[in-house]
């Protein structure tokens, strides 16, 4: 008798297949871990892929020092629960120059994230890095392969991608090259939430609504997560019931007003909402092709 697999079972099996291929063929793989919901799903899938062995690679957090406190708290616990090593990398030049999102605008993302990631991969000599990017997030992602090749300088060349057929992935590369692998390419935001719900995966509490101190700035609702947040003249923190649809550096991540305090309520809100997920991220607003440009420069 035929047992039709559900779409989540199919997506899960595909991601596991991809992770195992990488471990079988890469010299020194690593999993990028940002503590967000997509990272939580990736980590969960990694545990499933190699069970009863622990995932045979470390987690790498490219830290900007500006993440939400709640993210730092979950980070250590999640790695411990999975029995994996956690590596934390902070760009020393960014530390020295005190790069921050309030004074340095797009330089903040470039130095901490793009440059920090390149430095971390070079420092540790990782040849393959798992990332949790999805094709539904953004137009240039829709065309990126699951195995995405990067030159020695980490740049992405959208015109020179390897064809990917069936479930055959070509992981061969020259010594200086590296590969970014996206096992959840074919998942949508809804799939992620449904999977978290179904599998009971622990996520940062900031995804759930609670009263939090906020200010409104440039049309974004920002949360005051620590004392480093400089208030402008006339700005008074207001306590609002908010949550986050996506998590990054707290001064760059817009919250939404919401009362959704459980996963079903979050999914409900997401299904009834009318704005796309990345709208909360200042980084994508620059220009139409901004993400494609950043990726060519080496951004994940």
């Amino acid at each position: 008798m035929t047992k039709t697999l559900t779409h989540l079972e199919r997506l899960e099996a595909e991601a596991i297949h991809i992770m195992r291929e990488v471990v079988a063929e890469a010299e020194k793989p690593v999993m990028l871990y940002s503590v967000g919901k997509d990272s939580a799903v990736m980590l969960h899938l990694a545990r499933k892929a190699f069970y009863p062995s622990p995932p045979p690679f470390p987690l790498l957090h490219v830290d900007t020092t500006w993440k939400f406190k709640a993210m730092y708290e979950l980070r250590e616990k999640a790695a411990r629960d999975a029995g994996m090593d956690l590596l934390i990398y902070q760009n020393p030049e960014a530390i020295e120059r005190g790069i921050n999102p309030f004074d340095h605008g797009s330089l903040h993302t470039d130095m901490w994230k793009t440059q920090g990631l390149k430095q971390a991969l070079d420092t540790y000599g990782f040849d393959v890095a798992f990332g949790g990017a999805r094709r539904d997030e953004e137009k240039s992602r829709a065309k990126e392969r699951i195995f995405s090749f990067r030159a020695a300088t980490h740049g992405w060349d959208p015109k020179n991608q390897r064809p990917e057929l069936w479930n055959l992935y070509n992981a061969r590369k020259a010594k200086s090259e590296s590969i970014r692998v996206f096992p959840i390419s074919n998942w949508t935001e809804l799939d992620i939430w449904q999977y978290i719900h179904l599998e009971n995966i622990e996520i940062v509490p900031l995804y759930f609504s609670a009263p939090r101190p906020t200010v409104t700035r440039d049309g974004m609702l920002l949360m005051i997560d620590d004392e480093r947040f400089p208030l402008n003249a006339g700005e008074v923190p207001v306590e609002r019931s908010i949550r986050f649809r996506t998590l990054g550096c707290y001064p760059l991540t817009g919250a939404v007003e919401s009362n959704a305090a459980t996963l079903p309520e979050i999914i409900q809100e997401m299904l009834l909402t009318t704005t796309s997920e990345r709208q909360g991220r200042a980084i994508d607003h620059d220009q139409a092709a901004s993400m494609e440009k950043k990726k060519q420069e080496g951004y994940f």
Partner: protein, 640 residues
């Protein structure tokens, strides 16, 4: 006539989401997944159709819609109306050109299924993109512009869909609004297509008249075409049979990806079940070894299972300790796949650099990676009219039928019966690029009937009697670099040291064994292959073999290296700059080549690829032949 703009039909049961989210979630966790491709020419309305599917299934958010409306006014091709195509045309460069030029994946869902759409471009030069998208598709939507009918592109897309084994074909006759929903014209197009489809072996397809722009027969049967009695597109996509379900009825196969060994008490084999169903206690056979056992455990993170089906990623444990590793295939014991090393196959070439017959490429099939050589194609297929053409090689986007040989036997099934054990990619050994996709037809009888005959006196016995370690000293360099002279000096020294040697010289071999070969790239590769095989036989006989051949291509030198045990192939680069070799011109060949009397001369009109990491390098500008020989012998010591 005026066209009513259809209102978008909303798939989300908004009421249920708002009223009872838990019931909604329970309902939606059980959707199945269909992957399909859309193919059409530039103006067939492919992007518009996909945009429409996303829009109608409410996958477009308000901010995207606002952007879309402003984009539509700025650069749309539909006047003031929303240009859905702008939703899906991805990269910046492409948006400016107004065309999609690579495979892009889109996602939408209805009440019954989630869909992954591979958006495939229709240009001739992008055959490789369509083949890529088609390789994972359950279904193909072939779009036709109702005003234009069946075009060359339609034939090409249908042929490729058939080639990749897509079982469900939908012929979507689009832009019906522009021919006033005329049934007679539609029927004529379907009849013409039907005749063509039969001629290329497509037995069954589903035709439907639609308008992606206006939304006719997309979600609901169109009021403009009461004469159409079939299902609208979405309903068809929601009900068509899934490949994954069909695969469960086939014999069980799972390619081993990774051996799971967390401690001495556990040894499992991880992989994704390709076809069939595996149950606890099932008798299995591991290929290529043929060893048998039974399934003792089906392990997952969520607990052990009693059975697992095609598509699931699991870890299998056996009742017996038998050898099994990555690249092996676990199969139903009473119905295993074949093992062979020579095949007929169809190849789709995907790289700018053409196929080089005889050259060794990596072949990846399932989890097996082996070295493989492709013969000159039997024929190439003209994808526009399916005619067979004579071909010596395959260029970018060419499709041909050829014989392929692997350096060791692989587990396979014909592509037609099992995509995961019949579909392969070829990888260039130097650039690491994926250069081709292929589909195995059948194994050649000679591979099945010629077996290796084991002999009692092996290569160790031969070598021991001569009291030496066999080697191939492979001299490579330009014509006139001094290969033969230096090799001759080296052999003289080895002879004095009581070594058993033999010198194979390029010119001498071309007087006999290889006198049927010329100097084209293909003949040069065959020249080196034969020399490599002869040198290997001599090394098996215990000799130290010296070869002096230009051997200009890295890939062929590496091919010979791969035939030999580790350490027995010594690549010696006789490094002489072209100017120096040309100035020497001992045989007067450079003069002839410069005068155009000698074609394909290495260094002049045929390339030389110097070794990247030669085992030994001698510079003949700084060293005399005798000094070079002494240097080489010193590095070779000891020879026992």
């Amino acid at each position: 006539m005026p066209h009513a703009t259809s209102d978008p039909v909303i798939y989300k049961t908004d009421d249920l989401i708002a009223a009872d989210i838990d019931s909604y979630l329970a309902l939606h966790q059980h959707k199945s997944l269909l992957r399909f491709i859309t193919c059409g020419s530039v103006d067939d309305g492919k992007s518009t159709l996909i945009g429409r599917l996303l829009y109608d299934s409410k996958m477009i958010f308000e901010d995207q819609l606002v952007a879309l409306e402003s984009d539509s006014k700025r650069m749309g091709t539909q006047g003031q109306e929303i240009d859905f195509a702008l939703l899906v045309d991805g990269l910046a460069a492409e948006r400016e050109q107004g065309i999609t030029i690579d495979v892009a994946y889109r996602f939408f869902a209805t009440e019954k299924r989630k869909f992954i759409v591979a958006d495939c471009p229709g240009h001739e030069q992008y055959t490789r993109n369509m083949v890529t998208g088609a390789s994972t598709a359950d279904l193909a939507v072939i779009l036709i512009d109702a005003r234009k009918g069946v075009l060359i592109q339609t034939r090409r897309h249908s042929y490729l869909a058939k080639l990749l084994g897509i079982r469900n074909i939908v012929l979507a006759v689009n832009k019906m609004d522009l021919i006033d929903y005329d049934q007679a014209k539609y029927d004529a197009i379907v009849a013409e297509y039907s005749a063509f489809a039969t001629s290329i072996g497509i037995d069954d397809f589903t035709a439907m008249p639609i308008s992606g722009f206006k939304g006719d027969n997309i979600t609901e049967r169109s009021a403009h075409m009461p004469w159409y009695v079939g299902q609208p597109l979405i309903a068809h996509l929601e009900t068509v049979a899934l490949d994954n379900d069909v695969d469960q009825a086939k014999p069980m196969r799972m390619a081993v990806q990774w051996v799971n060994r967390p401690n001495l008490d556990f040894r499992g084999f991880s992989g994704q079940i390709a076809t069939g169903i595996v149950r606890l206690g099932d008798a299995i056979r591991v290929l290529p070894s043929g060893k048998t056992s039974t399934i003792s455990k089906i392990v997952t993170f969520d607990g052990d299972l009693d059975e697992a089906v095609a598509g699931q990623s699991v870890t299998l444990c056996f009742a017996d300790e038998i050898d099994c590793s990555r690249g092996n295939v676990i199969a139903a014991a009473d119905n295993p796949p074949e093992v062979s090393d020579q095949f007929e196959c169809t190849i789709v070439w995907m790289a700018d650099e053409a196929l080089v017959p005889g050259r060794a490429y990596w072949l990846k099939l399932g989890t097996q990676t082996v070295s493989a050589t492709v013969q000159s194609p039997k024929y190439a297929v003209n994808v526009n009219n399916m005619e067979h053409m004579a071909a010596k090689t395959l260029e970018l986007n060419a499709i041909g039928v050829a014989e392929i040989a692997t350096d060791k036997p692989i587990v396979f099934e014909p592509y037609a019966s099992n995509h995961s054990l019949g579909g392969f990619i070829l990888i260039d050994k130097i650039s690491n690029a994926t250069v081709a996709a292929g589909m195995l037809h059948f194994s050649l009888r000679r591979a099945q009937n010629v077996h290796w005959q084991a002999t009692d006196i092996g290569r160790q016995a031969h070598a021991a009697l001569k009291n030496q370690k066999p080697k191939i000293l492979w001299f490579t360099g330009l014509s006139g670099s001094g290969k033969s002279t230096i090799a001759n000096e080296v052999e003289k020294t080895l002879n004095l040291l009581n070594r058993h040697t033999f010198l194979l010289d390029g010119d001498n071999i071309r007087h006999g064994l290889n006198k049927d070969l010329g100097f084209t790239e293909t003949d040069r590769i065959e020249n080196i292959r034969r020399v490599g095989e002869v040198a290997k036989l001599m090394a098996d006989a215990g000799l130290i073999v010296l070869t002096a051949f230009i051997s200009p291509f890295r890939a062929e030198r590496d091919m010979v290296r791969a035939m030999m045990p580790e350490g027995e192939f010594v690549e010696i680069f006789v490094d002489t700059p072209l100017e120096v070799a040309e100035a020497r011109d001992v045989k007067g060949l450079y003069k002839k080549a410069r005068a155009g009397q000698l074609k394909n001369f290495t260094g002049i009109d045929s390339p030389y690829e110097p070794p990247e990491n030669p085992d030994i390098c001698v510079n003949t500008v700084e060293m005399s032949p005798a000094e070079a020989a002494e240097h080489i012998v010193r590095l070779l010591m000891p020879l026992k």
